[in-house]
């Protein structure tokens, strides 16, 4: 063990080492002189005495080195030396250095970009929130694929557990119309009064909600707005507090402003920009229904709890699982049996989605990882190529006494410097890549902002860079330091006889590179193909020339008779507008993000286990015509289906097949298990469309006439002859003419509705397209570099062949043929590996046949063309030169 006093002395030695070195030199000199003098006294001549003294003394250089070693700072000295030497080397070969750094930086940048997305979505706590001790409360059941929000009664029960939680906050996000006149569509949330306090969010202006503002429904219209909204819409007005803003046409007083970047706990587009007390839900949420407050099966309250001091997650979990009843009322649904759970707050997604996204993103990480492997292989090739050029330099250094370990270390230090350079450039590139992906995938800026770098990502990037340095640096260092001294020093440059072994190594590298590149291109291609297919799925309705607008009549205070008049006028007037061919109303737009689930029974099969789970919507006549959803049997609803006429229903094909197989369902009777629902007769069968998600498996769905199941919260759909923009403005004009104050909650063309529902897939496919292009570029460049270098090394061989009478075309063909052979070997191995991988991941790919051959073919062609060109060009150059010049 080394004592502190010794460390202190070592430190002093380090500080004064220049002087100490001089002193040591002086001592050695003195010793030599004194020994020489002693030798002279023994009768030697001056010259003999001096030489004898040196002989008995030993090598002063080595002695000096060992002396310094005993000061204990030699490793640092050597490292500094290596760094200086490395810097000189890298600077002397600028273009080579740049090539290595940029190649690696592309690989590292791709990884960093995806890692920062991964980090933002599933690891880092959301911006502005104190995450330690904060947990989600969720409701899950074995029969659900993912956890759900709590029911209101469950929230109330957990809120009262002061023994477990120091605070429980709740929220529910809603689409809102913001401002007077022509309101803008925005996202907001109704929250419990303690929302900001429980989350640990510090408002930058004003105050959060008082407890009494969340008690009496509709009594306290106050709001907290987001920093972004404050800056954008209110120009950062310092007098924003107590200003009145309109939400869905209702005046709200601004109480506070949230800190920059805070947008709730879920990354979504758009981020919420307004928060109001939950007691105001009736004013901001059009289809709010008082049964939500008592029904344990209605999951709608996102709940967050801060653990009380010294309550562990495990204890909280055990406690909440036991919460099923409270004062005689069920708080969780009995069918299917569900329980409450605790989940940590990590990443900006609700717990269930986290696993799904993590799985998909984790899988996607294969692609940038492979890009990095290809980039590393390229760098290794470049290093190897230069290692060959450097053999004389290295041999000289070994001859001068450097050990092989020392040389390998020196080469590794150079690799490390390259890696750090590449890491730095890679981080810059990652920003650019994120921006490109964001642009290509139309990812909203607010979400891109979340994909920023932080300590975690930087550390990961550093690790990746170091791993890359080891990966691409070690083998070339060993190879370059290997050659025996004498032959290398004697030979001038590289000859024909450099040896089969070196060729073999390079051949292996070329084949390996082709293999990895093929795998990479195929995997990226398969993902991309799967995503594009998902985007191209037929939604089941016609997407062109259509537009939708959502509004709520209850919000504007329309009583039931006035609602009917508004609806009648709306449909009549829109149909009279020239750009509009047909229009209709629906309560839940397909792919609109809202689904109403219910159960149905048939006559004679009304027991619980006979219930069939379906989704439902109420539509006006001409809905199927407007959406161009084909009715395979029966008829559409008509104006003759009224409140007083016999109740009717249209089912989709999936439900019809499920319940009646191939029999005709027309005339059959069903009853939906919603309050007040009568038995209905099936009058039509509609084709199954996509309802919630483009890639969903077919769902059972029923339509009831809007006249027999009225709702104030409606979406109008309209189709025209010309463009969807014309239809959209015509719709807006009609609604404004009917009621200028009517808040339009959402307005989209059909295309937008579809594309919004695949936002994430589109972002992912943009990412893959960018990375795939990058991979293709890197692979092509890598093959070209390795191949052309291999050819250049054989220039002498070309000269000999020419001197022996070979004709230029045959020499060129020889080299191209060799390149193609290597390449085809690589393609074959790569294709086999890719086939295995694609079978492994086919479960995650949508609409994919693992045999998708186009990608394999494309990969093979790109590789072979690159290899052939890379062999041909140098061979042509060499075969044009006079053999005498080449061989000299």
């Amino acid at each position: 063990m080394i004592k502190i006093s010794e460390w202190w002395r070592r430190f002093m030695f380090l500080l004064r080492r220049d002087r100490l070195s001089a002193e040591l030199d002086e001592e050695l000199r003195l010793h030599l002189e004194l020994r020489a003098a002693a030798n002279r006294r023994l009768g030697m001549t001056a010259e003999e005495a001096r030489l004898a003294a040196r002989r008995t003394f030993g090598n002063p250089v080595v002695l000096r080195e060992t002396s310094r070693e005993s000061w204990g700072w030699l490793p640092i000295d050597r490292l500094l030396q290596d760094l200086r030497y490395g810097t000189r080397q890298l600077r002397r070969h600028r273009s080579w250095t740049a090539a290595v750094i940029i190649t690696l930086a592309l690989g590292i940048g791709a990884n960093t970009a995806l890692l920062s997305a991964l980090n933002a979505i599933i690891f880092r706590a959301p911006t502005g929130i104190r995450a330690d001790g904060l947990v989600w409360l969720t409701l899950s059941s074995e029969q659900w694929s993912r956890p759900r929000s709590l029911s209101y009664p469950a929230y109330l029960v957990s809120r009262d557990r002061r023994d477990l939680f120091s605070g429980v906050a709740a929220y529910h996000e809603v689409a809102i119309a913001l401002g007077d006149g022509a309101p803008e569509r925005a996202r907001g949330a109704v929250v419990s009064a303690n929302y900001f306090d429980v989350l640990g969010v510090r408002l930058i202006a004003g105050r959060s909600f008082h407890p009494d503002e969340d008690v009496v429904p509709g009594a306290k219209p106050v709001a907290v707005i987001s920093h972004a909204l404050w800056i954008r819409r209110y120009a950062g007005d310092p007098a924003i507090i107590n200003r009145t803003i309109a939400i869905n046409g209702h005046p709200f007083v601004v109480a506070g402003v949230a800190p920059p970047g805070f947008g709730g706990l879920e990354i979504d587009e758009p981020l919420p920009s307004v928060w109001v007390p939950m007691a105001m839900i009736g004013q901001v949420l059009p289809d709010f229904d008082r049964t939500w407050l008592t029904e344990p099966a209605t999951s709608w309250v996102r709940t967050l709890a801060r653990l009380a001091p010294d309550i562990s997650i495990e204890r909280a979990e055990t406690a909440v699982r036991a919460m099923t009843w409270a004062t005689g009322v069920a708080v969780v649904p009995a069918r299917p049996p569900a329980t409450l759970h605790v989940a940590t707050v990590a990443g900006s997604v609700f717990p269930g989605e986290r696993e799904e996204i993590a799985q998909v993103l984790g899988l996607l990480m294969i692609v940038p990882a492979l890009v990095l492997v290809v980039a590393g292989a390229n760098a290794a090739n470049l290093l190897l190529a230069r290692g060959v050029d450097r053999r004389r330099e290295l041999a000289l250094r070994r001859a001068l006494g450097a050990s092989r370990a020392r040389i390998i270390r020196q080469l590794l230090v150079e690799s490390l410097m390259l890696a750090i350079g590449a890491g730095t450039v890679g981080i810059v590139l990652a920003r650019a890549l994120t921006a490109i992906i964001g642009w290509a995938g139309q990812v909203p800026a607010a979400i891109l902002d979340e994909f920023r770098l932080d300590g975690t990502v930087l550390a990961a990037t550093l690790l990746v860079s170091l791993a890359a340095a080891l990966f691409f640096g070690v083998v070339p260092a060993f190879v370059a330091s290997r050659p025996a001294l004498a032959p290398t020093l004697k030979e001038e440059g590289v000859t024909v006889a450099v040896g089969r072994r070196r060729h073999r190594l390079r051949n292996i590298l070329v084949v390996g590179q082709v293999t990895v590149s093929v795998v990479l291109i195929v995997v990226a291609g398969l993902f991309l193909g799967s995503m594009t297919k998902a985007l191209r799925v037929d939604p089941g309705f016609e997407a062109r020339n259509g537009a939708t607008m959502s509004f709520d009549l209850a919000l504007q205070g329309y009583a039931p008779p006035a609602r009917d008049i508004f609806i009648r006028d709306l449909l009549e007037r829109t149909r009279a507008m020239p750009p509009i061919e047909s229009s209709a109303l629906i309560t839940a737009l397909p792919l609109g993000g809202r689904m109403f689930g219910t159960a149905l029974v048939r006559p004679g099969a009304e027991a619980e286990e006979d219930e069939v789970f379906v989704f439902r919507a109420a539509v006006s006549p001409a809905y199927f015509d407007t959406m161009k959803i084909f009715l395979t049997r029966g008829r559409d609803f008509s104006p003759l289906d009224t409140r007083t006429s016999p109740p009717v229903v249209i089912v989709n094909e999936t439900l019809a097949r499920r319940l009646w197989a191939d029999a005709n369902p027309i005339g059959q009777r069903i009853r939906l298990l919603d309050p007040g629902e009568p038995w209905r007769e099936i009058v039509g069968v509609a084709r199954t469309t996509r309802y919630d998600d483009l890639t969903e498996s077919p769902r059972s769905y029923v339509y009831v006439p809007l006249s027999q199941a009225p709702s104030p919260s409606l979406t109008i759909v309209a189709r025209g002859r010309a463009g969807s923009a014309a239809v959209q403005s015509a719709l807006e004009a009609v609604i404004r003419s009917l009621d200028p104050q009517m808040p339009i909650v959402e307005a989209h063309t059909f295309e937008q509705v579809i594309s919004r529902s695949v936002d994430k897939q589109r972002a992912a496919s943009a990412l893959l397209a960018v990375l795939g292009g990058l991979a293709l570029l890197l692979a092509g460049l890598g093959i070209y570099g390795a191949m052309s270098h291999a050819t250049i090394l054989r220039v002498k061989e070309i000269g000999i062949r020419m001197a022996l009478g070979a004709r230029p075309p045959s020499v060129r063909w020889l080299f191209v043929r060799e390149a193609l052979t290597l390449c085809l070997v690589g393609v074959a191995i790569g294709a086999a590996a890719a086939a295995v991988i694609s079978t492994l991941i086919s479960g995650f790919l949508f609409g994919l046949t693992p045999g998708d051959a186009v990608m394999f073919l494309l990969a093979a062609v790109v590789m072979c063309v690159a290899a052939a060109v890379a062999a041909y060009l140098p061979a042509r150059r060499a075969s044009r030169v006079d053999p005498a010049v080449v061989l000299k």
């Binding site: 010794e6 002395r9 001592e27 003195l30 004194l34 030993g58 000061w71």
Partner: protein, 116 residues
Amino acid sequence: MRPTRDEIPPGTLDMLVLRMLARHGELHGFQIADAIQRVSDDVLRVEEGSLYPALQRMLVKGWISGEWGRTDENRRARYYRLTSAGRRQLEREVESYERIAEAIARILHPAEGTES
């Protein structure tokens, strides 16, 4: 380039240096080398230069201290002397050296006192 003569085991050199300093009080490098060779009757032949790394090491360890002074011929030289830590170290080394030497001796001459 390897020396063919017997080399001193590394730890032994330290001990010899400490011993010389203990006996003579204050010596510069050349005197130490000279003294070692004289007392060991040239049996242990130092590659003289290797003395200096050893001196540096012992300076760092704090066993010896160095002070610049003048030789009889009025040349600048660094004189080394034992510190108290060095004295303790010497005792330790002598002790362990004797223990080992004794053990070796027992192995080489197992006769006295034990039955075989």
